[in-house]
Structures are given as C-alpha cells and as structure tokens.
C-alpha cells in the first residue's frame, strides 16, 4: 500500500440536499492511486477539537488529479467540514484500505444505502470505463427521501445501469427498504457490492447467502489513524478480529461475524 499525506485545496463545494455535501479536492497523488472502495482520512480543521481525522470513502476520482467526497452532516466533524469553502485546504491521508475486488463475476448488483452510496459511484464508473456493458448490471439505492437520492441516481443511470430506488417516505421509488427490491435482482446477478447502514447490509448479506450470490461489503467504523496502528477499528471476523482500515474496508461478507459486528 502506498499512501500520502497532502494538503488538498477545495475546488468545488456542492450542496446536494439540505445536509448532504459533495466536496471536490485537488489531490493529485491520491487520485493517481485511488481504487474504488478505498478511503481517505480528512482533518476537518487544523485545531484540536475535533481531534481525530474522519474517514471518507472516495466518491469519485478524476483524471485531472481531483477526487470528490460525499458526506452527510451528522456531528461536529461533518458540520465543520460542510462549512469549509472553495479555496480552503484540507489535510488528507490516503488512499487507504483495500478497495473492491471487481475482476470477475458479472452481472453485478450495487446496493447503496444513505452515504454508503458514495464509494459505489466510483465503482460504477470504474466498471463502466473498463469497457464492459452495464445494461445487465443493477443498482439499488436507498435513502430517507427523494432529496437524498438525486442527483446521485441520475449519475448511475447515465452510466447505463438499471437503477431502482427506495425511500423511507416513498417520495421517490419504492417505499421501504432496499432488501425488498433485492428479491427481484438476486436470481439474475452473480456478484453484489454493498455499502450502507449496518442493518441494511446485514439483511442484504443474509439474502445473498440464501441465494448463494457472492457479496462484498464495505464497512464504516470509528477510526483514529486509518493505517493499522491504533487498532481501534476492529470488528469481529469469522477467524477473530479484523481491522477495517487495513484488511478492509471491503470484506467478503462470509468472512465477517454479522451478529456481532
């Protein structure tokens, strides 16, 4: 693994929904190495509170040396990040983690819930740009409401994927949860990639296991360092504890102990 610590200036700040933001950063070294599923550790301010960096999956990586991050304001750190302006510099460490393994099986299904959608757009773009046809691939996206899914859903559609949506309030797509949509898709795909709330992923994994479809999950946990030194991000694997930052964040779902994660 080859990671960098670099100051990255904010090129763009888009507000996609009242509390969802997309920052585009000039990060040439990180962009040159980034793989879908990898993440960066971001210092939201130079001060000491909040103290720790925040992990964000890489939402997009561009040939011009920029990357983008998608996040929702949930606490103090993300609120401060949302207030940063174009031209400000952020200190980033990355790219970190292993990324998705997307070499073989197809067709695939990408399942994202909430901000778990972020790394899947990078994956979708990579799959698309590798020259494979995407018409048979599916994308299932879930969120609280319509605001949280647009324009993300359109960006997946533009790549040629069949996109289905679900929202908690039914304001767009099906009212309810992603797993309801999965029944229709699992019989026709070979590989599932998922990232989102724990409960959603637990249900997706159970359905994949029943249908005998391979499933890769991207986990989110609290991290202090992101590079394997603090041992703070461990979760329960089938063969003992695993480090999300180093052995993940993407895991073969069968290797994790879902009831205990």
């Amino acid at each position: 693994m080859s990671e960098f610590q670099q100051k990255c200036s904010i090129l763009n700040r888009d507000r996609l929904a009242p509390d969802i933001f997309r920052l585009t950063l000039q990060a040439p070294k990180i962009a040159a190495k980034a793989q879908p599923g990898q993440f960066v550790m971001v210092r939201v301010i130079d001060g000491l509170d909040p103290l720790l960096r925040r992990p964000f999956s890489i939402h997009r990586s561009y040939a011009d040396g920029s990357i983008s991050l998608l996040f929702k304001v949930l606490g103090k750190g993300t609120a401060m990040l949302a207030r940063r302006c174009v031209g400000d510099e952020l200190d980033l460490v990355g790219p970190l983690g292993n990324g998705f393994d997307f070499s073989d099986e197809r067709p695939v299904c990408l399942i994202g819930g909430g901000m778990g959608i972020a790394p899947l757009l990078f994956l979708a773009e990579q799959l698309h740009s590798s020259g494979r046809a995407t018409e048979k691939d599916h994308v299932l996206l879930g969120a609280r409401n319509k605001d949280e899914l647009t324009p993300l859903a359109d960006e997946f559609s533009a790549l040629g994927y069949t996109v289905q949506l679900a929202t908690d309030d039914g304001s767009i797509g099906r009212k309810g949860f992603i797993p309801d949509l999965l029944d229709f898709v699992l019989p026709i795909v070979e590989q599932v990639y998922t990232c989102g709330p724990h409960l959603m992923m637990e249900n997706v994994v159970r359905q994949c296991q029943q249908a005998e479809v391979h499933c890769q999950v991207s986990l989110e946990t609290h991290m202090a360092c992101g590079i394997g030194a603090c041992l703070g991000c461990t979760v329960n694997g089938k063969r003992g504890l695993v480090r999300v930052c180093q052995q993940g964040p993407v895991f073969n779902a069968d290797h994790l102990e879902w009831s205990l994660v």
Binding site: S2, F4, D49, L52, T221, A224, C225, I227, C230, V235
Partner: protein, 331 residues
C-alpha cells in the same frame, strides 16, 4: 549585517555565499537515557505507532529520536471487543486491551524490518505476572536490534497485571527488579497517572534498578451515549489520551523530575514543538509523541524540526542545556 540581509532577500545565488561566510551551526539535539543514546529527544509512544512499518510511507522513520513499538506480551493477545475508541473533547478514549502478536512472533516477524532502521527501537513489554515480565525481557535481551525496554506497568485496559503493578509501589519495584535481573538492556519504566502520588512510584522503580521513567500513560475515563444509555466503549472504561491530558502530564513530569535523579521521559498530549519544549523545560530528557501520530502522522518529524528552530532562535547550541531550566518563583 544589514547589507547581507538585503542580498539574501534579493539574490538567491548570494544566499549560499553568505551562508559560507556566516556558517549556521546546527544545534546538538542528542540526549542520553541511561546507556541509550538518541540523536534527538523525540520518540513515538507505544501503542500509537504500531510496529513502525504502518508509518513508513508517511514518516521518515530515520529522523525520529526513537521508536517505541506496541506493547508486547509473552503470548499473543486478542484485545478487547469493539467499540474500542471514542473521541472526546481534545482527546480520545481507548480500550484496545493490548492486542499484540506476542513476543515470539514479534521477534521473528517484526524485528527484521525494525532492525534495518537507523533509529533505536525500544520495546514496550507487559505481563500478567512478575515471571512473565522476566521471560519476555530475557527473550528480547537476545534479540538483535532491540535498543532498550520500556516496562508497561500502567495499562488501564486489562484486568490482570497492568493496574496493580502500576499503582502499588512494592509491586512496581518487584517487576522492575525482576526485569533488571533478566536483561542488560537499558530499562525504562512507564508510570501510570492513576495514582495518588506518582513521585512515590517513580522513587520505587528508581530504587529497584530502572534506568529511566516515562510518564504518563493514559488517564482512566469513560463516555456515555445518552440516546442508547450505554457506555460508548464495550469495555465501559478506557484510557484518555491526547492534548486534553497535557497539563496533568506536565505537572507530573515536573514533580517527578525534581524528585528522582533518573532521566524522565515526558508523555501526554504532545502535538507541537512547543508542547515538547514545555516538557523539556519541566525536566524531561526526552519526550514521546502518542495520540498525535494518529491525527497527524508528521507530528513527530515536525517537532524535531521545531525544537531545532527554537534552539537556533534562542542561540542555544545544545538541547541538554535547556532541560529542566524552568523558572519558578522570582529567579
């Protein structure tokens, strides 16, 4: 001098010549911890720097004064269940529980990389019994590349060992004596702040044969989620570290440095060169950077540079000349 300053600004080529005329003497940052010689006083604290390799792409490891690797036990330890870390105001709580690969796998798997570094490697050791401490020390005594041992008698996150050894002077002395008999390596004993009088602990390990003391380890703390009404750490309590604990650490280092004749290594919330300098002025011979490694991997390197700059600005040639020069009262 005025003319020279103008030249320096306007003509970069003159800069080299001007430097030759007025040579800039790099201050001497070397310090001595018993028989352990360090090229500068900035080390990385145990448990915050993994086995060093984790940082190889982000830090010039050979610029550090010393590297203290993750605490090593006789047998591998799985550590505590997650969640293991929580952020707090200007600090963090951890309850990792000393997860490590065990001494044998450390020697066979981690030492080959570590011994290639130019920086001295100090191994932090921990045990559930006095005998275990001795056995680990014996094994490391014979391992090539180990520059010193740091005896951890102060981890708050394990049920056996740690806390008892670190809070009772007689027990601390017993562990120190046993390790002393098992090794000829320089011996640093890491003290816990979770005691009524840390000076008593320092004196106890000094009398028992320690070559140095390092302090402080984390302060015991906890955090609660009011929504779930549950503790935020699976272990309920954990060790508080980071800038939030610096004033406590500084006070303890100052008290201990006055009370013992051993070198004292200051630890606790050190993030900047100024933080490190406070500890050095209070009497620490060296410092360890801990939690800062997590949020700023370049912190330790920047501190080395910052101390160098400070000495040059102050017109000091040697770092050792400023150690313990804190002015109190009317002097």
């Amino acid at each position: 001098m005025k003319e020279e300053a103008v030249l320096l600004e306007k003509n970069p080529e003159q800069k080299v010549e001007a430097r030759e005329v007025v040579p800039c003497i790099m201050p001497d940052l070397r310090v001595q911890i018993g028989s352990l010689a360090l090229r500068n006083p900035v080390m990385t604290a145990s448990g915050t720097f993994g086995y060093a390799r984790e940082f190889e792409n982000l830090v010039d490891l050979d610029r550090l004064g010393g590297i203290i690797v993750k605490g090593i036990s006789l047998h591998p330890k799985p550590g505590n269940p997650p969640p293991r870390i929580v952020e707090t105001a200007c600090g963090m709580l951890n309850a990792i529980g000393l997860e490590n690969v065990g001494v044998d796998r450390f020697i066979s798997g981690k030492m080959p990389y570590l011994r290639k570094l130019a920086t001295p490697v100090v191994v932090n050791i921990l045990g559930d019994s006095v005998e275990e401490y001795s056995e680990i020390a014996r094994k490391l005594d014979g391992a090539k590349g180990v520059a010193a041992l740091e005896v951890n008698i102060s981890c708050p996150n394990v049920k056996k060992g740690g806390v008892a050894f670190g809070t009772v002077p007689e027990m601390a002395a017993k562990v120190t004596e046993a390790v002393r008999r098992s090794t000829t390596l320089p011996l640093i004993v890491k003290l816990s702040p979770n005691v009524t009088d840390i000076v008593l602990m320092a004196r106890a390990v000094e009398d028992a044969g320690a070559d140095a003391v390092s302090l402080i380890n984390t302060l015991i703390g906890m955090a609660i989620d009011p929504i779930t009404r549950r503790p935020r750490l699976a272990n309920v309590i954990g060790g508080l570290s980071g800038p939030a604990i610096k004033p406590v650490a500084l006070r303890m280092v100052w008290q201990v440095a006055q009370a013992v004749s051993l070198p004292v290594i200051g630890i606790g919330g050190i993030t900047t060169a100024n933080d490190a300098l406070e500890f050095l002025l209070a009497g620490a011979t060296a410092v360890q950077v801990g939690t800062a490694n997590f949020y700023d991997p370049s912190a330790a390197e920047n501190i080395v540079q910052g101390i160098t700059d400070y000495l040059q600005e102050q017109g000091e040639d040697c770092l050792v000349d400023i150690i313990g020069t804190l002015k109190t009262g009317t002097d």
